[in-house]
Symmetry: C2
C-alpha cells in the first residue's frame, strides 16, 4: 500500500497473461464493431487500457493481433464443444450437447463469432489459414463422435469411410446456420440447435412426416 | 475470303460475347491455378488470345475481371441446380437431383469451384459480397423446395418457419463437403452426393441403424 502511494501515476503491474487477455478482449470488441480495416490500434489501446507500445511488445502489430484473436476465440469455441460432448452418452445426446454448446457459444459471444467467422472470412489471406485450422479441429471432433457411434452400432467399413465427409458437412451446416442466426437473433439458441439436430439426426424424410427428435430427458437441454 | 486474305495479320473480328467468354474462360483457369494475387493479366491475355487493352475495355481491370468470373460461375452453378430440380417430382427426388447437379458441377468444373469458393473466400473484400449474393440465391432455391415439400405434407406454420434456416444449413453443408471433396478427388461425385442426401434426408439416427435412402428408380441418379 505504501509503495503504491509513492507511485500514484504508475500503471499497476499485472502479470503478462492478464494484460494479454485485456488486450485480446478489447481487440475482439473493436475488430467486431469496425471490421479489420477500420479498427484502429488507438481504440484498442483505449478500450484495453494498455499503451500501444505494450500491445506491440506483447502481441505484435494489427495483423498479428487479429490472428491472435482468431486463435484464442477458436480455441475457446472448440473447448466449449468438446466439454459439451461426453463420450459415455448415447451418440444422439453427444451430438445434441455439442450443437447446444456451439450455439450457446455463438449466442453468448456474438462478437467472437463475428471476428472468428465473418471478419476472418471477408479479410482473407493469412486469417483464412487460421480459420481453416480451426475447422479441421472441429471436423476431427465430429468425426471421432461419428466413428464411435458407427462402430458401436456395428456399421461396416464402407459406411464409416464417409464419416469424415459427413463431419465436414455437419461443420459447414453449423457455420452456415450460425451466420443465418446472426441476422435472426430473435430465435432462441436452443431452438436453432434443435432445428439442426433434427435435420442431421432425423433428416428431412422424417421431419416432413412429422417425426421429430427430442432429448432423452426433458431437462437435458 | 478475299477480304481475309488482304488482312492476314489482323485478328478475326468476333462478337463481343464470344470474346468475353474467351476472356472469362481464360481468367477462371489462370486465377484458379495461381490464385488471385499471383495471377497476371499478361497470362490471361495469352491464354485467352485477346490483347490486354481489349480485356480492359470489355471487362475492366483485374479486380473487376475476378468479380465477373465469380458472377458468371455462380450463375452457371445456380442454373445447373435449378435445372436439376423439377417441381413435379417428389421432394426427396427434387433434393437428390439438386445435390447431384451441384456435385456434378463441382466435379466437372473443379476450377470454377476453386475460383468461386476457395479463392473468393480467401481474397475477402468485395468478392465475399459476390459470394454472399450467390449463397442467398442458393438458399432461396432450397427454401422454396422445403416449403413446397412441407406444405404438401401439411406441416404446421411453426415447422415451416424453420425452412430458411434449414436451407442455410444445407447450403453450408454442401459447400463444406465440396471443399472436403477437392482434397479427396478419388470419391465419385455420385457417392459424395449420396452421402449428403442420406445425411439430410435420413439423418444420422437412421444411418447408424443401417437405414439408407436410395433413389426411387434405379436409373434416376
Amino acid at each position: 500500500m505504501s509503495v503504491d502511494e509513492r507511485r500514484p501515476t504508475k500503471v499497476k503491474r499485472l502479470p503478462r497473461e492478464v494484460r494479454e487477455r485485456q488486450i485480446l478482449d478489447a481487440a475482439v470488441r473493436v475488430f467486431s464493431e469496425h471490421g479489420y480495416h477500420n479498427a484502429s490500434m488507438d481504440e484498442i489501446s483505449d478500450v484495453a487500457g494498455v499503451s500501444k507500445p505494450m500491445i506491440y511488445a506483447y502481441l505484435g502489430h494489427k495483423e498479428d493481433l487479429f490472428a491472435a484473436c482468431i486463435r484464442r476465440e477458436a480455441s475457446m469455441l472448440i473447448e466449449a464443444i468438446a466439454a459439451g460432448v461426453e463420450a459415455e452418452l448415447p451418440p444422439d445426446m453427444q451430438l445434441w450437447h455439442g450443437l447446444r454448446a456451439f450455439f450457446r457459444f455463438v449466442g453468448a459471444q456474438k462478437e467472437s463469432w463475428r471476428v472468428l467467422h465473418r471478419q476472418a472470412t471477408s479479410q482473407g489471406g493469412p486469417f483464412s489459414e487460421e480459420l481453416l485450422a480451426m475447422r479441421d479441429r472441429a471436423i476431427a471432433l465430429v468425426d471421432a463422435l461419428l466413428v464411435r457411434s458407427a462402430t458401436s452400432r456395428g456399421m461396416d467399413e464402407a459406411a464409416t469411410k464417409s464419416t469424415e465427409a459427413l463431419a465436414a458437412a455437419l461443420v459447414g451446416a453449423s457455420e452456415s446456420l450460425a451466420d443465418w442466426w446472426l441476422d435472426h437473433p430473435e430465435v432462441p439458441d436452443k431452438v436453432v440447435a434443435g432445428w439442426l439436430m433434427n435435420l442431421v439426426w432425423m433428416g428431412f424424410g422424417d421431419l416432413v412426416d412429422g417425426h421429430v427428435w427430442t432429448p432423452a430427458t426433458p431437462t437435458a437441454g
